[in-house]
């Protein structure tokens, strides 16, 4: 017994090191997956408040850019306004009342914390449960993909950025509809990689890549980026490098897209797989 105590006293430094290191790494591993919200939830509310104050401050320096973006957005919206088009009232036409068929709704939110230089980047938004944000909602900025809401607290939400090694999205080539899965390779914050496009597909540098709408998260046809180059690395698939249309370094305002039919789709799909078994 005495020699055991002696041993413990002699090696306490190494033992304590191993103990703390195991504790830290288990923290890291347990919390690194999609479901790590528990512990982060508490600190999110706390640190979110500080990040918001910081973002308020930073906003002043970016006012010029934001104004510029708003002007561009306004011009674009004015251009698609009905009144800018020639009236064609002489023709009869069917009117579909789309309000009854509304499938997606948009909520604006502000980015209060963001990074592009890690392997697993997350974005914090200033809206949360109380503003109707739920996990698994899509996030877009100026009509192009940003990420997916991962967890929410009362007033803040954490978003898995597209710039995250865990993030995967179903994407397709706009002109011919070939679809594959798009993810980030952790190297350049302006580029992502699109896989699983077969070699017989006709693709060119500069082709537009959009979301496929196969998941219940993203609507179809949201812009992701443009093909920068592509190569045949292995087997029967292209590896396509996509220049992202979102500039993650100057993300300010985003829209969160809620899918009103998401539960219905998921229920249906689960039922179908259950019946299959």
């Amino acid at each position: 017994m005495k020699s055991l105590l002696n041993f413990l006293v002699r090696t306490h430094f190494l033992l304590l090191f191993i103990l703390i290191e195991i504790f830290s790494i288990s923290l890291l591993v347990n919390n690194n997956s999609f479901q790590r919200s528990r512990m982060v939830n508490i600190s999110r509310e706390f640190s979110g408040n500080y990040h918001r104050k910081l973002a308020d401050l930073k906003e002043y320096f970016e006012l010029r850019d934001i104004n510029q973006q708003l002007v561009e957005e306004n011009t674009r919206l004015l251009n698609i306004l009905e009144s800018t088009y020639k009236s064609d009232e002489i023709f009869f036409r069917n009117v579909t009342d789309t309000i009854y068929n509304q499938r997606y709704f948009y909520t604006p939110a502000r980015v209060v914390n963001n990074s592009v230089n890690k392997m697993h980047n997350f974005i914090t938004l200033n809206k949360g449960k109380e503003q109707g944000i739920k996990p698994d909602m899509a996030v877009v900025s100026n009509g192009s993909v940003v990420g997916v809401v991962k967890g929410v607290s009362e007033n803040f939400a954490t978003v898995i950025s597209l710039l995250n090694l865990d993030f995967k999205i179903s994407a397709k080539v706009k002109k011919n509809g070939y679809f594959g899965s798009l993810s980030w390779d952790g190297k350049d914050y302006q580029k992502a990689v699109l896989n699983e496009i077969p070699l017989h597909a006709d693709i060119q540098v500069g082709d537009t890549i959009i979301t496929s709408g196969f998941s219940s998260i993203y609507p179809e046809g949201i812009l992701i980026g443009y093909i920068e180059n592509f190569e045949e690395l292995s087997g029967s698939f292209y590896t396509i490098y996509v220049r992202l249309s979102t500039d993650f370094k100057r993300l300010n305002y985003v829209n969160v897209i809620g899918n009103l039919t998401q539960n219905e789709i998921i229920d249906l799909e689960q039922e179908a797989t259950k019946n299959n078994d």
């Binding site: 923290l27 982060v40 697993h120």
Partner: protein, 172 residues
Amino acid sequence: MIKTVPRYLLNFILLVLLQVFVLNNIQFSGYINPYIYVVFILTLPFETPKWLLLVLAFLMGISIDIFSNTPGMHSSATVFMAFLRPFVLKIIAPRDGYEPETYPQLRYYGGNWFLKYSSILVFAHHLFLFYIEVFRFSDFFATLLRAVLSSSFSIVLILIGQYFFRKDTKRR
């Protein structure tokens, strides 16, 4: 000894704030991200008990982690660095040992010694941190490059900080 406690406490808070609010927002070209909060562990007194070193390193790391949404990442790297500290101090000790009433800082042992001391430990810390962040050994050299670039940037910042505070004490 007891007098130094409030000073290190203040040091701790200031470094966490500086790291979280200023340096975490510096992102040069997606590669360089300085982490200078480790200077807290570097400058602890020579007589600090070894177990306290590890505990303080863990507290420092976990407070950075809370703010950067990465529980366990910074704390494991900082604890690793604190573990190496006594060995590094022993290896690079001056010929007649460390004098009492001094601290492992630039103003006591000179720029050369401090550069050696801080670069070994800061590089070890960054290497550990970046590899545990990626959590895989593919892209080995890209990660190594990030660690080298970021740690040289951190070391420069730490040296600048040390010179800055050296002047401060002379004036007093």
